[in-house]
């Protein structure tokens, strides 16, 4: 792990465990800088936000066959997702029940059983302890049944998306993730076979900044013309980002590179509670979009679901969706993005291209290749975001102000009955305020 030794630790950091002290960090339209910079707050977030929320673990297609495994971290804790012989997906703490070593050390692979390197304890793919070498040395009363790999307390799968909660109590999957099922459907339904596969590799990038900077960014349409100025040409048009588009979105006026277009400003953001939200207005098919790949895809979709349903699917309401706190479903150039906090000022992100099953290879691979250009660590788009995150983290060392402003659109929110959500301008900061409302709820909940 890389830590920038020059990053200042908050000298004023003091224990802030009381609910009252935490509540003072969030005000309407602004948040205290310490939510980004204070290592103690970060530790509390791991315990109270990541320790309580439903977290995205991975996609079931990452473990297609019995014995397949995939390792990751939840709230910094190593876990392994496996598929057992009966087909069930398990999420287990990747920690030997004997002396604590991490059992599975590869990122992904296949194993009939998982054997600890240290003393050879062996676990089945459902976590059951099967082999203890030199068993007659065990203490009296030792029972293998008591020493299986601990399962993560709650696991739920929805259309291949595997979520887990590190706490046994706490709100249910339906209460927490239920309102965002439609956003998962929006992506999965685009696959003619109604199913996704995460089997086109992944991008991994990291930055010296707080995890919330990435979370806030995915629903921030305000930054695009400026943060990504280097991708916008003299006509105010961003380079094409999707298969079949002749050119990209017009985001700023030709006459003034600081003036966003009305169509960009008219986009909406929606929030549903729990920190979740999405931004609107990425029709996949505006009638003008055409390429051999896109046309073949459209035909494949129509063949499977019929013209009427295909037209609905290709006119979706979603641009990017955030399922708070650690995953976003990106509808524009199709991918799923997972955020892993490492420390208060270090974050890693994994970007998965997704394959729409039943869609022609030429479409899936075309989407995958565009993602190299937009969201690899060496891409044209994400790199400028990363620079924004790093500079924000640096700027927040300043004691010039305690406050970070997220007040754009405050008071202008509207109720949206169609989606049972709150609606605001996408170039506003409604989504960030909703995230901090959820954050405060998690952080104040009694331990």
């Amino acid at each position: 792990m890389h830590l920038d030794p020059t990053v200042a630790r908050d000298s004023e950091a003091v224990a802030i465990h009381t609910q009252e002290e935490i509540s003072k960090l969030i005000e309407p339209g602004r948040v205290h800088r310490r939510v980004y910079t204070d290592p103690e707050i970060f530790e509390l977030e791991m315990e109270r936000v990541f320790g309580r929320a439903w977290l995205f673990v991975g996609h079931s297609s990452q473990v297609p066959n019995p014995g397949d495994y995939f390792t990751t971290e939840l709230a910094r804790q190593p876990v392994v997702m496996t598929r057992h012989r009966d087909g069930k997906v398990h999420v287990l703490f990747n920690r030997c029940t004997h002396r604590g070593a991490k059992v599975v050390n590869e990122r992904c692979g296949h194993a009939a059983r998982m054997t600890c390197l240290y003393h050879g304890w062996s676990f089945d793919t459902d976590g059951a302890l099967t082999v203890v070498p030199i068993p007659d040395g065990c203490a009296g009363g030792f029972r293998k049944e008591d020493f299986g790999l601990a399962p993560v307390p709650r696991v739920q799968e929805y259309r291949g998306f595997v979520f887990a909660s590190l706490t046994r109590d706490g709100s249910s999957f339906e209460d927490q993730i239920g309102p965002m099922k439609g956003n998962i459907d929006d992506l999965v339904d685009r696959a003619p076979d109604g199913e996704l596969a995460f089997d086109l590799g992944q991008h991994r990038y990291a930055y010296n900044g707080n995890w919330k900077l990435q979370i806030e960014n995915v629903l921030d349409s305000y930054h695009v013309p400026f943060g990504h100025a280097s991708t916008v040409n003299k006509q105010g048009v961003q380079f094409a980002r999707r298969e079949g588009d002749e050119e990209g979105a017009k985001v700023v006026e030709t006459t003034d590179q600081n003036k966003t277009t009305a169509s960009w400003r008219d986009r909406k953001s929606y929030v549903t509670g729990n920190g979740h939200g999405w931004s609107s207005n990425t029709a996949l098919d505006d009638g003008k979009r055409s390429s051999p790949a896109f046309d073949a895809y459209k035909l494949a979709l129509i063949a499977k679901v019929g013209a009427e349903r295909a037209a609905q699917i290709l006119t979706p309401r979603l641009h990017n969706s955030l399922i708070y706190p650690n995953v976003s479903i990106m509808g524009l150039n199709i991918h799923v993005r997972v955020v892993k906090p490492i420390s208060v000022d270090r974050t890693e992100v994994t970007v998965y291209p997704v394959r729409l099953l039943g869609s022609p290879d030429v479409m899936n691979f075309g989407n995958m290749r565009l993602l190299n250009v937009t969201h690899s660590a060496a891409s044209f788009v994400q790199t400028d975001d990363l620079e924004s995150f790093v500079r924000t983290q640096k700027g927040l060392r300043s004691l010039a102000s305690d406050w970070v402003d997220i007040s754009r659109g405050l008071g202008a929110e509207e109720a949206d009955r169609t989606y049972n959500a709150t609606r605001g301008a996408s170039v506003g900061e409604l989504a960030m305020r909703a995230q901090y409302k959820a954050w405060l709820g998690y952080m104040q909940e009694a331990a």
């Binding site: 590799g201 991008h203 100025a229 991708t231 995958m368 250009v373 690899s376």
Partner: protein, 171 residues
């Protein structure tokens, strides 16, 4: 080596190693001097620059890559590198490449192409921080007139599947 290959080697790839090594050194110098357009001109019209995102990656066409630029994308990348508001290059990167351990891997006399591999290390300094990239690179070069054009430059970074801080300049 058969006769045809030997002829090709003497005409286009021999005094092979020295000539090819000089080509690689010149290429690295263009990158270090941020002469990106001239660097792009080293590529054939059908040329590509590839940095895989997984060890032993078989193809850029069915798996994510850190870079996979054909000439069109290369030009978009370089336009952006020259854009006054590219934040990830404010300030710009300074790089030093070291190319060595050069070997001729393959001679295709029929096509007039040669594959040369080398160890590459690039040290990059930007904005008070310095880091190192290292790996083995493979250049498929096509002999043209008195010089070579790059048909494919593939850089196998030893840490290709790690989480990278933002990368703006080619390796």
């Amino acid at each position: 080596m058969d006769t045809a290959a030997a002829t090709a080697a003497s005409s286009s790839a021999s005094p092979a190693r020295e000539v090819l090594e000089l080509f690689l050194i010149r290429e690295a110098k263009l990158l270090d001097e941020r002469r990106f357009r001239e660097w792009m001109e080293l590529f054939a019209e059908d040329g590509a620059y590839w940095v895989p995102a997984a060890p032993n990656q078989e193809s850029p066409f069915n798996h994510a890559s850190l870079f996979y630029d054909d000439r069109t994308l290369m030009k978009t990348r370089i336009d952006r590198l020259e854009h006054p508001r590219i934040h990830i290059q404010t300030p710009p990167s300074r790089t030093a490449h070291l190319v060595g351990n050069t070997l001729i891997e393959e001679i295709d006399a029929a096509k007039g192409e040669v594959v040369v591999s080398s160890t590459v290390m690039m040290v990059e300094y930007r904005d008070d921080s310095q880091r190192t990239f290292a790996g083995r690179q493979f250049h498929r070069l096509r002999h043209t007139d008195d010089d070579y054009k790059i048909v494919l430059k593939r850089v196998n970074l030893i840490n290709c599947d790690s989480a990278f801080d933002a990368m703006a300049v080619p390796i």
